[in-house]
Subunit: 225 residues, 2 copies
């Protein structure tokens, strides 16, 4: 079960999205080379990824049946049995996530919000009731939620994480720009915008340097000699 | 320059955050083992990561000077010269990003929003003016922005990406749950919530299975025999 790397797991929703587009376009079958080209992966990677979750694992495939792959990925990702979550911190980002339209398609159901802001408590955002944070321990059990989505500022993220763990949360989906400490049996998955930006700006700057170097090479020697 | 892997790049903002916490707490020096323990990385990885961007690369370090590491990481990530971006799609998520309070600390400045919704055009969100999408080509040049943040639904993300590329964007920060195609010299970085969720639910389910197996081992043989 744990032989799947983080990078590999991250690819399955991307395959799924692509296969659903193929299905919409009426495509019945496709091949690893075509998938690899469209998504920018290697052919070997595509074959390995799809074989690892195939319901017919032994059989080497020439063509990939679109509907079957969709079914295999959805089963693997557990999209047929949505996991329940609650969200703490109903500011701009938290509010956006409570309103996010397609979580149910990704196997997640956010069933309630929590906040310390008295103006928000008792109201609803995206159709979900906002409760006071003090009720997290009771509500988590009552609602049968295993996941706590953390959308508070970095300065209070660890305190919310501690409360969530004490309340019985088994996984934390952390949107605060802060690394959290929790017992080993609690899963922590970070959506770290700063990390994503670091990758983007590093690659952007590398491209700009490459462009400048190319432009430099356009005038070889003559100007310097 | 390109010898940095995506995973390694993603760690630098996490180091930076931690070192800033140390600075706030008045800590002057720390060591790789301590950093490794707090952040859950291996000691070797920490040493390699920090050495790779150190302003004194040759010198093997016993203690790490907190202020110096902060300076090294900020220089490496280019946080002193913020990159300018514009954002397309000012719905819930786009609006949350326009209001996101700490992008300037991450080297990003979102200078304007774009939308097709007439009710939003001409107004401001998070202090940034919202322009009609048709003005993207002109405004991108005028504002000196290199990055386009895409927050539209998956179904229109590729069209917005094409327009951004035609308008001269050099990087796309994509929040739409869709994989985009662009010329090779345009950087695409995806914040894919479905991918993050796939990692979370896979690990959560693995833990649940582990717990069940453990509980099963608590009653060996007796009940079955």
């Amino acid at each position: 079960m744990d032989s799947f790397s983080k990078n590999q797991l991250e690819r399955y929703p991307i395959y799924l999205k692509y296969f659903k587009e193929l299905e919409m376009a009426g495509v019945v079958e496709t091949s690893s080379p075509k998938i690899a080209e469209r998504l920018g992966y290697s052919q070997e990677q595509v074959r390995k990824d799809l074989q690892a979750i195939s319901s017919e694992p032994g059989k080497p495939k020439k063509g990939r049946n679109v509907l079957q792959v969709i079914g295999d990925i959805e089963s693997f990702l557990g999209y047929r049995n949505a996991l329940k979550a609650v969200l703490v911190g109903t500011g701009h980002l938290g509010g956006a996530l409570l309103n996010y339209p397609t979580f149910h398609e990704m196997g997640l159901e956010i069933v309630a919000g929590f906040d310390n802001d008295e103006k928000k408590v008792g109201g609803t955002i995206g159709g979900k009731t906002v409760h006071p944070l003090s009720e997290l321990p009771n509500k988590l059990q009552e609602l049968g939620a295993k996941i706590v989505v953390i959308c508070v500022p970095a300065s209070s993220a660890q305190a919310v994480c501690d409360l969530a763990v004490k309340s019985g949360a088994q996984a934390i989906w952390n949107f605060a720009p802060s690394s959290l400490v929790a017992p080993k049996n609690v899963v922590i998955e970070n959506v770290n915008l700063a990390s994503s930006l670091a990758v983007l700006s590093h690659r952007l700057n590398a491209n700009i340097l490459k462009e400048e170097a190319k432009r430099g090479l356009g005038y070889p020697h003559t100007e310097r000699e």
